[in-house]
């Protein structure tokens, strides 16, 4: 079995109009910039995919990565916890103009809904958001004298994930706090596509230190020296690059 993908265009070729796509990362850490940009390349060349529902903690920063995906007009709906950043202009303008739908989810609930999607748990109860506007319309139940809100699983057609080491079986490790939502999204998507900084042979990752076992991964593409969103933004980058 070999889940290695030869290049970025192949990696994102299966994503179709209207699909739900989870994108890993918390701010820029763990954001699969190269996969996102490959998806933008496809859209620029073909007009597809569009009308995507994207799941991410944030809503992009500056004009690269997720922000660029929104800016070119591929995203119909965003499910996130914190659509603010140092430079949130792209999402903000589209949201205020009614051009993009927002489902705001508390961060821990977002993480748990994604895990639930991967773990076959269709619903669970959490104290989070009880008594707030974000609980409106959701079932409430009392357990042991305390009120809890029922939340539902989140699944996706695709997950775009950034990892550190990977092998052809799909086993993954992450780098520091770039782990964040990535391992959860691997579990919750029908197709999980991962960019890794380095491909290694099976067995080179100590079985004790595998964070995402290969069963949750469908494709792996090696992207050495991946871009950091934070660095790109400090350099004033935008994507697609504007011809000078």
């Amino acid at each position: 079995m070999d889940k290695t993908l030869p290049n970025l265009p192949t990696a994102v070729a299966g994503i179709r109009d209207g699909m739900t796509v989870m994108i890993g990362g918390f701010g820029g850490s763990g954001a699969p910039i190269e996969l996102i940009h490959a998806l933008i390349d496809r859209y620029v060349a073909t007009g597809h995919p569009k009308g995507l529902t994207v799941v991410n903690n944030n809503a992009g920063n500056g004009h690269v990565g997720l922000a660029a995906l929104i800016e070119v007009g591929m995203v119909a709906k965003l499910i996130c916890s914190f659509p603010r950043s140092a430079d949130p202009v792209v999402f903000t303008e589209r949201y205020l103009a009614g051009q993009i739908e927002l489902e705001l989810v508390p961060q821990g609930t977002l993480a748990e809904r994604i895990r639930a999607g991967g773990a076959g748990i269709p619903a669970f109860y959490t104290p989070t958001s009880y008594g707030t506007d974000l609980a409106k319309g959701k079932p409430v139940e009392v357990f042991e004298g305390r009120s809890y809100v029922q939340e539902r699983w989140l699944k996706a057609d695709y997950a775009l994930v950034k990892a550190h080491l990977g092998d052809r079986l799909g086993n993954l490790t992450y780098r520091m706090a770039a782990r964040n939502f990535n391992p959860l999204m691997c579990m919750a998507a029908a197709n999980t596509i991962v960019q890794v900084s380095r491909m290694v042979a099976p067995g080179e990752i100590d079985p004790e230190t595998v964070i995402t076992p290969g069963i949750f991964v469908q494709g792996v593409v090696e992207i050495p020296h991946p871009a950091q969103e934070e660095t790109l933004n400090r350099d004033g980058a935008s994507y697609p690059e504007v011809a000078a």
Binding site: G118, A119, G120, D167, M187, P202, G203, P213, I215, F216
Partner: protein, 223 residues
């Protein structure tokens, strides 16, 4: 002329349906033998409930590491690409539908796909283990079972009489006499031992065997 398949032969037959690269959980007992019969050129990845993916066969006697066991508490070995994880992640793989195939034993299977394999009734100590999770945990849930009980009574029934493990979960039965799919609430005969007529097989079966084209010969090697 084969009059019934041995457990090894049933396991061999089940192994022929496992694709290269499939993620597979094999239940404790007879189903564990399936791993031995993978067709050459194919390599399944085996999952065990207690937190290993991609383990290898049993170690030589005397070289067991009792921290490296499968769900049947038998010693296994590492292979390149093995991963360890805790029990909640392990059953996330199961419940979340990430396995391709689960192969289990059975006391009874109903034409509805209901399975009874955990309890023979109120006597004794009840034990369920991971069976009730596994029946909801794979795209294909197959059963390896003798076609009839030791007393000659059918194990494939219209409805189970023993406590259920799961409702409508079984997709294929590898019996000692036949390969039978469960589809739309009916048993569909795919293969049968050539030495048995359809009528003879039907008389050993507690629910109607339907045909979807002629049943193929169930032919397995001597094992």
């Amino acid at each position: 002329m084969t009059s019934r398949l041995s457990p090894s032969q049933m396991a061999w037959r089940a192994a022929q349906d496992i694709e290269d690269g499939a993620y597979v959980n094999l239940g404790i007992g007879f189903p564990e033998m399936v791993a031995k019969f993978q067709p050459s050129g194919r390599q399944a990845i085996f999952h065990t409930e207690n937190g290993i993916l991609g383990f290898g066969e049993a170690p030589p006697h005397g070289e067991e590491d009792w921290d490296l066991i499968n769900a049947g508490k038998k010693a296994v070995t590492l292979k390149p690409g093995t991963a360890f994880f805790h029990h909640a992640d392990s059953f996330a793989m199961v419940r979340g539908g990430h396995l391709d195939v689960a192969i289990l034993g059975a006391y009874e299977v109903a034409e509805t796909g209901d399975l009874a394999n955990w309890s023979t009734g109120p006597k004794g100590v009840p034990a369920v283990g991971g069976a009730m999770d596994l029946v909801h945990g794979a795209r294909r849930v197959a059963v390896i079972t003798d076609h009839v009980t030791k007393d000659g009574k059918p194990k494939l029934l219209q409805r189970c009489t023993l406590p259920l493990t799961g409702v409508g979960c079984v997709t294929r039965v590898y019996s000692s006499h036949a390969v039978i799919d469960v589809f739309n609430g009916r048993f569909v005969l795919r293969e049968k031992l050539p030495s048995f007529t359809l009528g003879a097989l039907q008389s050993m079966t507690g629910a109607t065997l339907h045909l979807d084209g002629p049943a193929a010969d169930l032919v397995v090697p001597d094992l």
